[in-house]
């Protein structure tokens, strides 16, 4: 496979089967080439080399994991138990985390997506709007919080 910055990686079907795209692309490519030679490259325009190097250990570690279950759309998603290995894996800065999310989304790594989404959600939970704005440096117009006009009187 060739990353967006022209770096070439060799992939192992067994290890990279987590990625649906990888699997699909490689299967199609193998069918097209009838299994002859492996000189041609599969382009990954949305993933740079650094991120691809970061993602590969994840694939290796989680290669035997079962597929994630489909949850109820109406309920709050999220996992309460993030494995320790995953927590250490995600100790990166915000920019890298966003890149990981985009790469996982492009490569369709469901398990990596859920973990990164959960990590990002944990960064937002429990924060006031000002704290969220400061934490992510959004620098957009702060929504002025207006207290709704109370039509009934609450008495202590």
């Amino acid at each position: 496979m060739q990353s967006s910055d022209a770096e070439i990686f060799e992939v192992d079907m067994e290890t990279d089967k987590q990625s649906v795209i990888n699997k699909t692309m490689l299967e199609d490519f193998e069918w097209m080439m009838n299994g002859e030679g492996d000189d041609d490259l599969v382009p990954l325009p949305n993933v740079n080399a650094a991120i691809f190097k970061k993602v590969r250990p994840w694939c290796t570690h989680h290669k035997d994991d079962p597929p994630p279950p489909q949850g109820d759309e109406n309920k709050e998603r999220g996992t309460d138990h993030t494995p320790v290995w995953d927590q250490e894996f995600l100790k990166v800065d915000q920019g890298a985390l966003f890149k990981l999310i985009l790469a996982a989304d492009y490569l369709d790594f469901k398990s990596l997506l859920d973990v990164t989404y959960n990590t990002l959600a944990n960064m937002i939970k429990g924060k006031t709007p000002e704290e969220t704005d400061k934490s992510f440096n959004i620098k957009m117009t702060l929504w002025k919080r207006k207290k709704p006009k109370c039509t009934k009187r609450t008495v202590a």
Binding site: I51, V92, D93, L142
Partner: protein
Amino acid sequence: MCKEAEHQLLCPLEQVPCLNSEYGCPLSMSRHKLAKHLQVCPASVVCCSMEWNRWPNVDSETTLHENIMKETPSEECLDTALALQDQKVLFRSLKMVELFPETREATEEEPTMNGETGVEEMGGAVGGVDISLVPHGLSATNGEMAELSQEEREVLAKTKEGMDLAKFGQWENIFSKEHAASALTNSSASCESKNKNGPEKKQISSGNNMVEGEGAPKKKEPQENQKQQDVHTAMETTGLAPWQDGVLERLKTAVDAKDYNMYLVHNGRMLIHFGQMPACTPKERDFVYGKLEAQEVKTVYTFKVPVSYCGKRARLGDAMLSCKPSEHKAVDTSDLGITVEDLPKSDLIKTTLQCALERELKGHVISESRSIDGLFMDFATQTYNFEPEQFSSGTVLADLTAATPGGLHVELHSECVTRRHNKSSSAFTFTCNKFFRRDEFPLHFKNVHTDIQSCLNGWFQHRCPLAYLGCTFVQNHFRPPGQKAKVIYSQELKTFAIKPEVAPELSEGRKNNHLLGHGGKSQNSLTSLPLEILQYIAGFLDSVSLAQLSQVSVLMRNICATLLQERGMVLLQWKKKRYSHGGTSWRVHREIWQFSSLFSKIKSWEFNEVTSMSEHLKSCPFNIVEHKTDPILLTSMCQPREQARESLVSTFRVRPRGRYVS
């Protein structure tokens, strides 16, 4: 075909709106899905009625409270945060003038009737436009509205702005009644001014003109003009005021019997007062009262309602007190040796809290009325000297304490007692009053009130045993399972929340990192992520976090809005509308979609990894260890052994035997 309508009422596959559609739910679904949907319907909203009591601070805990307030308030110190929030609510509800009526400002005007103009809509006459929208040229002069000219009426009739012709029929009906009534009442005033001014002058009441200024259609105007002309004609040639001589004779010829009787009904009292008509039975011709001599009725008020029985009765007071004149007597303070101005000032907060509780028990009055010989004498009881001597009617305790440094004047621990229990009347009661969707309410009650709030007194949260001496050390023993997170109380959110712990690396925002690669600067932002990803991430947040995220920016607000129907709730905002005829009604003003303050569901709690309290006690500054070196006598070693021990038997004297002989 004939059964089609019935089938539509019964078929489970028929698409029907939600049962709560009147309350804001926009969804429609097959009939057989209604029951399941109602469990998560956004319009099924409940209000939490949880109550808890809190006492004012006792002197023994003043040191602890002072030490707590000296430190920076921590969101993890749950009992302190909750107590401070309750104190804020309490101070905002205590009106000084209600507790101490003697401190009301003397020059203060009566509070206006329209105190809630913020939510009230003062409709114009019979629902028309407000007077402020009337063009400037028609502004009131000398208290009367100038009449619209025909050209101005036509211009207003052509403009559609501000007109609500759908209600025209209703207005016409109400207006015609108002017009007739106002014509009768204004007849006297117009007649007098007519006599002064001489030439004809049309004078129309302000209520009529406001409706006309609204742009009534042209076909209504000729009818109005005809009515006005009839009335004015009557006013010009006859006087129909009750105090004018010959009014009844003129009225008999001017109106029919029905209107004549109605005039007598409305103005009969004034007619009798001005001698225009005699009373039904003059006193000298009355069979019963004609022979009696009128005397003033004297009563003796010896029965006094016992005020100690119920505080509410003491608040209501004697119903006749306001009718009888009373005499004021103050307490003589000359024996104190100081002037009234030099008397020490009362502590504002302590006194206010004490009197607020006293009012529940026996009522705080500045004087007690005692009846002596049929006269009421007011004896002064207890008054208080405050720094600000007088308060306006709207002053609350929070206004007076805003400038002073914050303190904690209520106890840290609270008691949860339901309404069905006889709770102590010397405590302040606080209520939750938060709205939740029906399926969220059990989670809120369990996690917030049952698990956390009611367990703050030593189970969920543990204070140092030497807290009574002033130690502020506190530990939280429980945390949510799995993830590293802590329970906080957010003063901004006014509720408990779960705050996951975030790795320090993730807290670093913009940072040059090799993983970014080329063009990383523009993509190093939460807002750079695609909308689908942001929406999916928002699905991982709990309700309270969604409520806060929606206030960060317009983009985040739009992202969170996509989850409103699934995770949010809809409330109706009501507005009170007043009409010129005095009636009021409540109307739905708008629907408000919002997220509740529920945090992530917690089925079970795990123990937090904290050190034992004994480790803290080793280094607690209030743990003063005393090492005794001098020997101490035991109690059994205090008395010498030679002394005979006295027992119950030895206390009885020996009596001589035999019969008593004197």
